[in-house]
């Protein structure tokens, strides 16, 4: 670790927090309908869709509309992928995507996971990338933000019957937040060297006379929304490690900024929407604290290097460089890793599979904590609010009072639903991993022997259920078993989680908003910040420790003992 490295990390995080403040306020304004510069486009969409923007929806209506939009998005994307061989904008003449892979990919992009069992430049036509995958990058992020807004509204006032209108929230977040940001960030990426063209791949002849295919495509615009929407699905196979997807340290820093700004901003939006900005700042403090600690661990582990390689004669100066790019350096690789997994993004600028055991443990554990640090666009906010409810419940148990959060009584129904949601992740991750580790058809996908092989499998289901999308890439994921079960894990992680959360929102919205009294437990001070951080760690993380002990932790001790597999 160097001072310059920490200065890079501090600079990027400072810019994230500084921009989250205005963006958070802006999102609250858009949610309240105070931003209208694209009103004619909005009106045209509502008109054709037959939507009355003034009509509010209860939690069931809101959730059903969300499920219908996602089902329609899945159907369209699946059809596009299967049929890409017959459709235009396919200069490389790629065939249609095979059924299991198309199923997995369509679920993956609709659920904001962007797990990829294919390699973009070797499988996807320009049309599939642009009109299929890019569009779901927008819609899945806007879906997450819309759901978060609905949950925020439940806390805003007492006796509410509706949580807003899903179609209006979806369209407004797309038009006023995601689209303008994507255009600006996308243009910056082009200036930095990310291609944006419909021309076919170029055949080059290298200085030594060898043929080299230069892949191209409309990449910059998609990569912009890939980060802003915390989607993470690479245009090219190796994601942001690809020199066209992450051409420079500046580009990688901008990608870190882009994948953090909306989740952090939404924490502050929550404060604005409930009329107490301190509440949003408390959530942001928990998120930021974890990001800094996680970055420090990855940075320390990776700059320490791999002892086996150091013993073989590798100079320790650069740290562990297997799977890393020279232009980014260890500091930006560590920050990218902690932010992409904390934020449910899943883009990578270095290959986790080749990280040291502890460096690889951090991204996996960040996802297992529930994707709340700061979590995905929208999903991070509604998930950390579930933990906030559990935190006040724990605090209430300790002092023997009915817990309240923002003047809303948290009672048995809410706590049961919250626990139901929180248990989805361990059930999906540990359940599918356990089954896969005894199935020959699944074990044959593992590349590395020893505890690292277990980590590869555990990471895959962690990533899918957490809707992250990053991978320990040695796993051969394009098999019917993994395409199918990882697809199911993604569905569970997104929808089995959010339906109980919306039920909590519906139940809380209807309750009266009690005035603060002397007995109210303040939820904006350091005590609550510490309590929430502890609840995330214990309720979110504890159940994964046995599995982690068999994977990365066992591998760490094997490495120290000089054992290879």
């Amino acid at each position: 670790m160097t001072l310059e490295g920490w200065a890079q990390i501090a600079l990027v995080l400072l810019l994230v927090v500084a921009s989250a403040i205005p963006v958070g306020r802006y999102v609250a304004a858009v949610a309240a309908g105070r931003v209208t510069f694209l009103a004619p486009v909005e009106r045209a969409i509502y008109g054709i869709a037959g939507v009355d923007p003034a009509r509010g929806m209860g939690w069931k209506g809101y959730t059903l509309a969300m499920l219908a939009a996602n089902a329609a998005g899945f159907a369209l994307l699946y059809a596009l992928l299967r049929l890409q061989g017959m459709l235009p904008l396919n200069p490389q003449g790629f065939d249609g995507i095979a059924p299991w892979l198309a199923f997995n990919t369509a679920i993956s992009f609709v659920t904001n996971t962007n797990w990829q069992a294919y390699s973009g430049e070797a499988a996807m036509s320009y049309l599939s990338q642009m009109a299929g995958l890019s569009v779901q990058n927008f819609l899945s992020a806007a879906t997450g933000i819309a759901l978060a807004l609905a949950v925020c509204r439940a806390f805003a006032a007492g006796g509410l019957r509706d949580l807003g209108n899903f179609w209006v929230d979806l369209v407004r977040m797309t038009l006023y937040l995601l689209l303008p940001l994507a255009l600006a960030v996308g243009l910056a990426f082009v200036a930095m060297g990310v291609p944006q063209t419909l021309a076919p791949y170029v055949q080059a002849t290298t200085l030594e006379g060898v043929a080299q295919t230069v892949p191209l495509g409309p990449a910059a615009f998609q990569i912009a929304i890939k980060h802003l929407g915390t989607n993470g699905g690479g245009f090219f196979g190796v994601n942001s490690a690809h020199p066209f997807e992450g051409p420079s340290a500046l580009a990688t820093a901008l990608q870190i900024w882009a994948q953090q700004v909306i989740p952090f901003a939404l924490a502050l939006t929550f404060g604005h929407m409930v009329g107490d900005v301190r509440q949003g700042r408390a959530l942001l403090a928990v998120m930021l604290g974890y990001v800094v600690v996680a970055t420090a661990i990855v940075y320390a582990a990776e700059t320490g290097g791999n002892p086996l390689h150091l013993a073989a004669g590798v100079d320790p100066g650069m740290g562990n460089m297997e799977g890393k790019e020279v232009r980014f350096g260890q500091a930006l690789a560590a920050l990218f890793t902690a932010t992409t997994t904390g934020a449910s993004c899943g883009a990578v600028n270095a290959m986790f599979d080749s990280f040291t055991p502890l460096g690889g443990l951090v991204p996996m554990f960040l996802i297992q904590l529930g994707e709340v640090l700061p979590g995905g666009a929208g999903s991070g906010l509604y998930s950390i609010l579930v933990f906030a409810l559990l935190a006040v419940f724990v605090a209430g148990l300790m002092v023997g009072r009915t817990p309240e959060y923002l003047g809303k009584k948290v009672q048995a129904r809410e706590v049961k639903l919250a626990m139901l949601a929180v248990l989805v992740l361990p059930a999906a991750i540990l359940g599918f991993t356990a089954v896969s580790l005894v199935l020959p058809a699944a074990i044959s996908s593992i590349q590395d022997a020893g505890p690292h092989g277990l980590s590869e499998m555990l990471y895959a289901y962690t990533s899918a259920a957490g809707n992250n999308g990053s991978a320990f890439g040695g796993l051969t994921a394009d098999t019917p078993w993994l395409n199918g079960t990882l697809g199911l894990a993604m569905l569970l992680g997104r929808f089995a989680y959010v339906v109980p959360v919306m039920a909590i929102a519906g139940s809380l919205a209807a309750k009266p908003k009690l005035a603060e009294s002397r007995g109210t437990f303040p939820t904006h001070g350091p005590l609550f910040i510490g309590l929430l951080a502890g609840v995330v760690l214990i309720l979110g993380g504890l159940q994964f420790l046995p599995a982690l002990a068999l994977g990365p932790i066992a591998e760490h001790f094997a490495l120290l003992a000089g054992q290879t597999f």
Binding site: M130, A204, V214, H452
Partner: protein, 195 residues
């Protein structure tokens, strides 16, 4: 049912037309006018022929050139359908080794590479494969170690090559972001231009 299906289908279709076709096509047009070189893949030409992209690494094995990092990219094996064989810097299929830290295969590969470079200590980037398999850069230390070999192969004084490497060493962006590095293709092009 139609109260849900009509908005679901129309919103998804309309936003696909807008965000998936109209906007990206217009954006492609603007990008091509504003930044034609970058939008087209930063292609590098010599004597009218495309020799690669300034951003993508390419393989060099000749003693007369500076060598890039090891690359884990592969290509389909024509003699064995369904399997692949090593093909360093195959830009049509970016890939990393994905080998874990306790992998015997990785340790063996690193040991072999260190030995091939005449023993340690060697800069880490010289003996490890990058995340993309297409890393265009090497560290300045890695370049410095190669100066002697290239100088002998070309019959050029080492001091001249050291100056050329220094000239092609890029520092961190804004003086802070990223690491010092040397673009191998740019350096080797300059090498061919020496007289």
């Amino acid at each position: 049912m139609t109260t849900i299906l009509r908005p679901a289908i129309s919103v998804v279709v309309l936003l696909t037309l807008l965000l998936g076709l109209a906007v990206p096509l217009a954006f492609t047009g603007v990008a091509g006018v504003a930044f034609p070189t970058q939008a087209g893949g930063s292609l590098v030409e010599r004597e009218g022929r495309v020799v690669g992209s300034a951003l993508l690494g390419q393989n060099f094995t000749s003693e007369r050139y500076f060598h890039p990092r090891p690359s884990a990219t592969t290509e389909p094996d024509p003699e064995n359908a369904g399997s692949t064989r090593a093909a360093p810097y195959n830009a049509a299929a970016s890939a990393a080794s994905q080998l874990g830290p306790t992998s015997e295969a990785l340790r063996g590969a690193v040991q072999e590479r260190v030995a091939a470079l005449g023993g340690g200590p060697v800069p880490a980037d010289a003996v490890t494969a990058s995340g993309s398999g297409l890393d265009p850069h090497i560290s300045p230390q890695n370049a410095a170690r190669q100066i002697g070999r290239v100088a002998r192969a070309r019959g050029v004084p080492e001091a001249r090559l050291a100056a050329l490497v220094a000239q092609h060493t890029e520092g961190p962006a804004l003086g802070l972001l990223g690491e010092p590095r040397v673009n191998v293709l740019a350096l080797n092009l300059a090498l061919d231009g020496l007289r």
